[in-house]
Amino acid sequence: MFKDHAKIIHAISSAGEINGRKKLQKMLYIAKKLSFPFQEKYQFHFYGPYSEELTLRVEELCEMGYLNEVREKKAGYYQYCYSITDSGRSFLSMHEMDMPTLEPCLCDMNEQNARFLELVSTVLYFDTLEKDEVTEKVFTLKSKQKYTHEEIDEAYEYIRRLKEKAKL
């Protein structure tokens, strides 16, 4: 019970601290696409893959006192930062986690910015399409982000590296 909640705490604990809800959403989506066993369902929303289930679980975990949520004012919007609490650590100790390569993957993602992770997660969302079709999707659906061909190439290269890391 609460296995799926425990996996989210484990992920945030592995990353140390995650700044921003968008970043958290994208990191866990990418981890799921790397075959880590996260159960939350994602749909494509205005800003890329988004999971309402994940949003609710994180809310629940904050409510339970297992995650710490800090709201910081940024230019024009609020950003939420997440980290594990002592109670969260104690809760986590009741669950066995067998995802040894999750931590290096999440730490790596945590060093990237949310904009790039949004691109990576969008590329992964369309991973059944050919690269030129994916590029077209990115340019059409994310026109306001003004991604370049170089960034898309970088995203593909980053996914390749992450997949290697996930295999270790």
Binding site: K22, M64, L141
Partner: protein, 434 residues
Amino acid sequence: MKYSREKLSEEKVFKDPVHRYIHVRDRAIWDLISTKEFQRLRRVKQLGTTYLTFHGAEHSRLNHSLGVYEIVRRIVDDVFEGRPEWNQEERLLSLCAALLHDLGHGPFSHAFEKVFDLDHEEFTREIILGHTEVNAVLRRIDADFPKKVSDVIAKTYEDKLVVSLISSQIDADRMDYLQRDAYFTGVSYGHFDMERIMRVMRPREDQVVIKQSGMHAVEDYIMSRYQMYWQVYFHPVSRSAEVILTKILHRAKHLYVAGYTFKQEPVHFRSLFDGNVTVEDYLKLDEAVILYYFQVWEAEEDGILRDLCLRFMNRKLFKYVEFHPSNDEMNKLMELNRLFKKAGIDPEYYLVVDSSSDLPYDFYRPGEEEERLPIHLLKNNGEIRELSRESEIVDAISGKRRTDHKLYFPADLLRDESTKKNVKRQIRELLELS
């Protein structure tokens, strides 16, 4: 005449308890309604197990799909037509997507998706793009049309205004299901002035916005959403039925994988259990088939499967207590787990925590940090403002925490003192059962 523009010789109307009439004039829409994949939705209930709490909630996904179609038809024909931001060429695409948006829902789809790791949106896509009657109708419009419909439903279509009609925080999908679910459950919460909302909708580049003068009608809609979630969708008794349903599916799968010999081979479930379900297999599943198996399994040798099916079919549901997952409560849960085993009641099937995050319904969120597009109001001076910044009512309910956990268990088994009397008494004390 081009099929995409072909009209029926006279308008067809369906009587509908929510919208009074559903009007069909387009030949393609009429043909889609007649496909076997769409007709299958008659045999999938809109609210899953909710009929065990609200006995009227027997309405189907077909009823709802027609309702969503009708709302979109009224918006594009009566409100958007002639406005410069609206591309009339997208009319038929919007109607088809509205009609077909739930095509991939399976029987009791939420429980099925959880247990068998399925995704109804993926099946919707496969039905629209695969060798189906629906696909054949859509291809008559244009070879590329099935792909476009699929993209709109998947929210990846380039024209986001079309997407937002059936999928946004104030869309035709929600406007239909809130009213329809309120009507069929008999509750008085889901009502709002949809006509007013439709009149004040304005197309913009990326989404539908609402004229400021319609803010109070939208407040009513948000309140309806809020109340329906707590009063209907999160109802603890429906959740109890869903918990049992989920456990039946888990048990049947567990037995199948372990090589158990069923009295009647579960042929319809085989590919689900094997994890290789095809669209063809999936389309054969509906709630009539599932309930047939549950009835058959009432006579199975396996005690757990038999008991769970009897409970579901005869509405002998699990009871519940509130559960606040602090470390103390988690320790209590572990103790309960141990005592259930000692009492010979398998906690894997009979002691279940259910969280609100396990449910498929969402709340209005103001869209912090660009997560999801919020509802935008169009002010008289042309400025666009997020709804909760203008409405105190919406602001008050959209900032609240919305979590809820319950612990479900079979109170009847725990009160049966013919066996393991002492340990059951200990369990009842821990659960604070009388």
